[in-house]
Amino acid sequence: MGFWGGITRRLGYLTRRSRFEQELNDEIQFHIDTLADELQQSGLSCAEAVSKARQEFGSRLRVREETRSAWQVRWLEDFFADLRYAARTLRRNRVFALTAICCLALGIGANTTMFSVAMEVLFSKPSCRDPQSLFQVRLGNGSFCPATQYRFLRDAGIFDGLGGMNIGEVVNWREGSETYRLAGTRVTDNFFAVTGVPVALGRPIMPRETNVAVLTFGFWSRRLAQDPNALGRKLVFDGKPYTVVGVLPRDHRNLAGFGFMPDLYLTLDSSEYLLFARLPQGTHRAEAQARLQATARELDRVFPNPDHKWAAGTAVSAVGGIERLAADGDMAAGGLVPIIAFFAMLLIVTGLVLLIACANVSSLLLARAFTRSRELAIRASLGGSRGRVTRQLLTESLLLAACGTSAGLLINLWLTTLLSRFRLPSPLPIELHIQPDWRLLGYSITIALVVTLATGLVPAVRGTRAGINAAFKEPERYFGNTRWTLRNLLVVAQLAVSIVLLSGGMLFLRNLLHATSLNTGFDTTRTIWATFRAVPESYTPEQFTALARTAVERVGALPGVEAASLARAVPLQSPFRPDGELRADTGDRAVHARYNFNAVGPDYFRVMQIPVLRGRAFADSDRSQSAAVVILNENMARLLFGDADPIGHTLLLPENRRVRVVGLVRNSKYFILGEENPLAVYLSYDQYHDGAPFAHMLVRARRTPDDILQSVNRTLGDLDPAVAAETRAMRDALQYALLPSQVGAAVLGTTALLGLALAAVGLYGVLLYAVTRRIREIGVRMALGATPANILAMIAGESVRLVAAGAAIGLAIALVAVRPLSMFLVPEVKPTDATNFVAVACVLSLIAALATLSPAIHGLRVDPADALRHE
């Protein structure tokens, strides 16, 4: 009790310090006056009494000091005094302060922004009521559960509500005469009731409602212009009217996570769902898990399937935080690792940039510690203990770090606001809502403290080490060889790290260049890709096939169209890559492989400009009633038939499809740009039926695709109002394939250049400092007859030594460090390619030369007479 009272009383003192001083003065005055009165009464004169009283009282100053110290919290007072002193010092050296704060701001800004993005993508809390009691249910080693099993599970009554959501779906939205494809998430009618997703306008979807939809804020803003009367409006999706009952808030986060943001949620049956369950009151998760397991075994009994067991891999996992990430990772084997690796790499990269920035600031502080050595020596001689002075120097770096962190946070806020405005449309629409929160604050404070220690500790210890003698000695001189002072070592380290960063950035840049110039194997300059999708309920598969055939005939007849073909898959945009067994009639054993599959019309190879090397392309005669035919690419033919001519041979495909090889085409790209030796099998479109209600059409323009873009789109739209058609030029569509490379190159390239710029600044600082210190020496040499060339050689020599050391170490580390990056790169770009490092070394040399320029000129301009007087 007494302890806390003391704290509160001392805090009270802090707030009324000036009044305290005044009162203490009055009190002491009173004491002396009373004493003087008494002395007067015992016979002394007034003046004598006063002087004797003062004498008896003693030093008022000391009494005031000691009384004050009774109230002070010593270290706090010291800290504030240090802060004021540090602020004054920084104000006096504005250039230094600004440079240091800028360096730190850039490093911290980049680092904290990356942290914010990573936190948002990986660990964001989904928008729902009471996320602690909401869980995601998984069965049969998968996240998705078919509708029948969902209904079984729902009715089993284990949970207090089981809702389903399917995120990968698309709906057609008819507005006026245009039809658009939207990312519509299908939910069960009880989904909103179970999850409690908050709604900003209107209300959520209620159980047992049908034909209602809830829009996301983004869709409502972009497509409906924030119409205040949107609630109650009927929008036509997939040919049916849906009533809008609600609009979601701006910061809505989907339960699936990773920034996924659909256009709307609607009540529509889906073939499979992600499951979300609310646990009943008082039920533990373990209990629910056990009951789930039991129900899953029941499922296996009711729906027996030899290949797939529902009871294997059941899980009840949390909907947010680390657990969701782990659970997702378990289920989506291999899918999550690249994402986490990507973010880890970005964090490391920005961490390295921050380190370079810290090294800069540390170097600057070291330089100042040396120039202040006299001031520090005087302080030491006046009684300042080493610890005290060190604390003061550290407070300076703390102030720098605090300013740098604040500025860095401003950069962070600006960048994250910028990022939150973007919407990545594919493959699944992603929109990030990055909001600063306590996690960011905690991380920033930690960074600030780390930076303080990293930049300030060594200079502080160094600066207070030398005793008073060392400070007043003449500054040390050296002739000729570079001394490996701490600052020089810092610069070498900075250069080394810059090289590592540059190597990474260079790799991504080459990857990007390579990807853009990569030959896709098919024509992208004059090709148009159209997709049209009919409402499944309105068309039987036969009707749709007829519709598709009509479509391709009409488009093919348009002026400006050279050829048009239907296709089941589109290379690099919508590929289809199953694996299965293929048996050639020549071989005795079957080949099991993953191959790219497509079912195409007769003009496909002409549209795509893929050369037919042997045999023929498909013809109109290859219809459903005629003999089944197949066309292979070179790799597949070689795999199945070796060097023999495959034409005329028969092949057994999966699902017992026996086909005859009629053609051989050149290899091209199918699945991703970066694939090697892909296999491909083509069937005739008319001979392949899978009942999907959508089709792709590929069109070759006579001149440029822009000529016919509109007319193709209109033709398709005219087929049937409920059909949604999307048409775009292939070269535009391919931009999305390049997006990861572009993002990687942009981010890594920028951070690498940032790191290099910071290192260059460090190099410049060190060289300038070295020249300034050796001005006398330069003057002497010039007086003794050295030519400007000699001086230049001296200065440049130092620079070259530093850069060479940094480059050597950096390249050695880079050789090892860039190897893991190969998972993000196209196979043609190899991380350990020599040209990469040569390029990096050249860039470094160029920047180093620039950094040396100014100090060199400074050195050359030295006037020998002035220099000899210089201290």
Binding site: G2, G5, G6, R9, R10, E23, L24, D26, E27, I28, F30, H31, D33, T34, L35, D37, E56, F57, G58, S59, R62, V63, E66, T67, S69, A70, W71
Partner: protein, 111 residues
């Protein structure tokens, strides 16, 4: 009258003396020093320079409370009084001091 022996007060007993002096009622700083000097028949003389720091330390510890008032000679002065905590501290320290003195006397008599 013999000149008063200006003996420094034993360190550690200063608090005890001040607490005891204030037992009967609030006093201002000068009066406290005066009272101690008189009560000890000039045996103890508190150096004025150490009085105020001590008083303030006791204020921080919560043994005393202070307020401004008017002194006997009509001047504004700060008066100190014992708090309940201070009374407890007085009893405690008085007890300790007695024990210490008894022990010292025993040693002086018997050793």
């Amino acid at each position: 009258m013999e000149s008063p022996l200006n003996r420094e007060v034993l360190p550690g007993t200063l608090y005890l003396l001040i607490l005891r002096t204030l037992r009967r009622g609030p006093l201002h700083g000068y009066a406290i020093a005066r009272r101690i000097k008189d009560a000890s028949r000039d045996g103890l003389n508190i150096e004025d320079g150490s009085l105020y720091p001590a008083l303030n330390r006791m204020l921080v510890k919560g043994w005393l409370a202070s307020e401004w008032g008017i002194s006997a000679n009509n001047r504004k002065a700060r008066f100190y009084r014992l708090t309940a905590e201070g009374r407890r501290q007085l009893d405690k320290e008085a007890g300790e001091f007695d024990r210490l003195m008894r022990a010292v006397r025993l040693v002086m008599r018997n050793a």
